[in-house]
């Protein structure tokens, strides 16, 4: 566990309960402080109080379009990195996804996501 991760806060926005738990467990084991939200509305609320250093955002959220939450999150804090995490690959080509700092396609192997979080928090 590297010193840089200690105390860095990550917010995970995901409407799939089991997946959300998986991300939380995996990232906590990496040494991050993790908060979770199951909807876009909750994400904006939690991010205000939790003040995460980075957000992992699922695009296809139940109540709201993830891309709209992305712009709201960026409006809240412009410099905070947001990683779009989706089962779809085609959002990569959507203009509104460009304001995200990284785009990770969902996978059972979470190493890509972890690498992206690490590198974004280091820069």
């Amino acid at each position: 566990m590297s010193a840089t991760k200690l105390g860095r806060k990550v917010l995970i926005v995901e409407d799939e309960k089991h997946l959300l738990d998986l991300y939380r467990l995996e990232l906590e084991e990496e040494g991050y402080k993790v908060a979770t939200a199951e909807s876009g509305k909750a994400a904006l609320k939690v991010s205000e109080s939790f003040e995460p250093d980075l957000v992992v955002l699922d695009i296809r959220l139940g109540d709201e379009e993830g891309l709209r939450v992305l712009s709201d999150l960026k409006y809240q804090k412009k410099d905070r990195p947001v990683i779009l995490n989706s089962a779809y690959t085609h959002y990569k080509h959507d203009f509104s996804s460009w304001s995200a700092d990284a785009y990770v396609v969902k996978s059972g192997d979470m190493s890509e996501l972890k690498d992206k979080i690490r590198s974004l928090l280091q820069s």
């Binding site: 799939e16 089991h18 998986l22 109540d63 089962a87 969902k106 996978s107 059972g108």
Partner: protein
């Protein structure tokens, strides 16, 4: 009474010639107009004068001279009358030909038959008797005359055999015409073959054929040369002999020309022949015009049919494309729906493996794996349900008991979701002929949707009843309700407002209900909830597989 005057006074002031003879005038001095002879022989004075003169020698001589003169006049007159009778007979024959041809035109179903009738009229010995005839019609879009049909022969030596065989066959003109109309395939001949190759632009410099059409008048030439016709093939057949060219004129346009000649008999083509031919052409023209219009109409209809077929093919192609798009959408949705549990399974499997290696408890991980795999199965069977047609296993089913059984399945969700259930079931037993499992599936889908619509709890009312030949059950929730936009898309496959779910529950339910001969109704009000009603027919004779 003045004996020198005509007692009948015909015409006024005329001398009575018999009295003049009796008075001693010489025959040369007497004018005896032919038209008066018939009146004189009936005249009572004439008879009286003849009787009076009997026995007078001088008068007898005069009388015999007068009678001989009378006889000669009458004989001339008779010859003339018989000539007129022949003429009249000839004219009647030609009129009969016209009548036969006119009747045949009425029966001619196509242009080919019509032209055959026309040219047979022109060439048949009993009819107009030209040795040879060819017809050319105007092709309006190409502004040209095109050869259509010829009757007769290219080589003169071929005529004899044809004429002999016609003679032997003893076919009358009427019979010939009837054969043309009745025969499905008319014989081809060399003249027609040749004539069909002839194409003459419709401008005067190309000779008398276009000229006859453009000026709408007939031409006769004593010897057809290249001055009259520029087309070489035409010249090779008709050149060097007398020939007539008559336009075929309908009320408003010249449709073509008919060319006739008499290469075998060498008979003169008289002005009378031309005017009869003009009459026949005029008769043919209106029928030809109709058939040309009919042909054009047929071509248009064929074109339209072609376009229609193209459209139909296109429509099938579009439908196929639509199906492919739907299939594509299905594939995308399924891919996404399957991807999420697969990612979860992948993630937890890796965790479980690591935990197992460490000797940690992996029960929780395995529990999640089981749940996610169950979800995959659920998605898969949903897709199969939608895409496969199943045979209905029809039994008498009690609606009330199906409702109770299904409510038991969702009891956990109802309690957990803080949802009160109100049951308003019909007191009498409601029996429908249905596939119990499929009907339960419909009920489950509707109950699940109702529960999803009330995330903060609420009231679920389930009722049953009978109405107008249908037995129904109704699921009413007090949830968020739906906008009209959502209702409109509700039964479209893959439409979903939920984060999880394939969007197939309602389309599948609708299909099941329809397979039972019933229908599914929906009404909703935003913030007040939705009502789903399943109507099933009371009596159903036959079920769809």
């Amino acid at each position: 009474m003045d004996s020198s005057k005509c007692p009948l006074d015909l015409p006024e002031g005329t001398d009575c010639w018999i009295n003049s003879i009796l008075d001693g005038k010489s025959l040369d001095e007497i004018s005896l107009p032919r038209d008066r002879v018939s009146s004189c022989v009936k005249c009572p004075y004439f008879k009286e004068s003849v009787q009076r003169s009997m026995g007078r020698r001088s008068s007898d001589l005069l009388m015999s001279q007068a009678v001989s003169r009378l006889l000669s006049i009458l004989s001339d007159y008779n010859a003339e009358l018989s000539g007129m009778a022949t003429d009249l007979h000839h004219k009647i024959e030609k009129l009969t030909v016209l009548k036969t041809v006119a009747e045949a035109f009425l029966k001619a179903a196509n242009l080919k038959d019509c032209l055959w009738v026309f040219l047979t009229g022109v060439t048949a010995g009993e009819a107009y008797g030209f040795n040879r005839a060819a017809v050319f019609l105007v092709n309006q879009p190409r502004r040209a005359l095109e050869g259509q049909l010829g009757i007769g022969h290219v080589r003169l030596e071929d005529f004899k055999d044809t004429w002999d065989s016609i003679k032997k066959s003893r076919l009358t003109f009427q019979e010939m015409i009837r054969r043309i109309i009745d025969q499905p395939d008319l014989p081809e001949n060399h003249l027609t073959e040749l004539v069909r190759k002839i194409y003459i632009p419709l401008t005067p410099q190309f000779g008398l054929l276009p000229k006859a059409v453009l000026e709408r008048r007939s031409f006769t030439v004593p010897e057809l040369t290249e001055e009259h016709i520029t087309d070489r093939q035409m010249l090779s057949v008709f050149g060097g002999r007398p020939c007539a060219i008559v336009p075929i004129i309908s009320r408003d346009s010249a449709l073509g020309v008919v060319v006739v000649d008499n290469p075998v008999t060498g008979a003169d083509i008289s002005q009378e022949d031309i005017s009869m031919l003009e009459t026949l052409s005029y008769l043919a023209a209106s029928k030809i015009n109709n058939l040309i219009l009919n042909n054009q109409l047929e071509v248009r209809v064929a074109e339209l049919e072609h376009v229609y077929n193209l459209l139909q093919d296109n429509q099938e192609y579009l439908l196929e494309t639509e199906r492919l798009v739907e299939a594509g959408k299905l594939a995308t949705t399924i891919a996404h729906e399957i991807k999420t549990p697969l990612v979860t399974i992948g993630g937890y499997s890796r965790r479980a493996l690591k935990a197992f290696e460490r000797g940690d408890n992996i029960t929780r991980d395995l529990q999640i794996l089981v749940e996610e795999i169950a979800r995959l199965e659920w998605i898969t069977s949903g897709v199969l349900d939608y895409s496969k047609k199943r045979t209905l296993n029809l039994r008498n089913v009690n609606l009330n008991s199906i409702i109770n059984e299904t409510l038991e399945i969702v009891q956990g969700k109802l309690t957990y979701g803080n949802i009160d259930v109100v049951l308003q079931l019909s007191e009498s037993e409601l029996i429908v002929k249905a596939d119990k499992d499929r009907l339960k599936q419909v009920l489950f889908n509707l109950l699940d949707n109702a529960i999803q619509a009330m995330p903060d709890g609420g009231t679920l009312t389930v009722s049953t009843g009978t109405d107008g030949g249908y037995e129904w059950f109704k699921i009413v929730d007090s949830g968020c309700g739906m906008s009209q936009k959502t209702i409109d898309k509700l039964f479209q496959p893959f439409f979903t407002t939920r984060s999880s779910g394939v969007g197939l529950g309602l389309p599948v339910s609708q299909r099941i209900v329809a397979d039972h001969g019933g229908y599914l109704e929906v009404s909703s009000e935003l913030e007040h909830g939705s009502v789903f009603t399943v109507n099933l027919p009371v009596h159903r004779q036959e079920m769809k597989g």
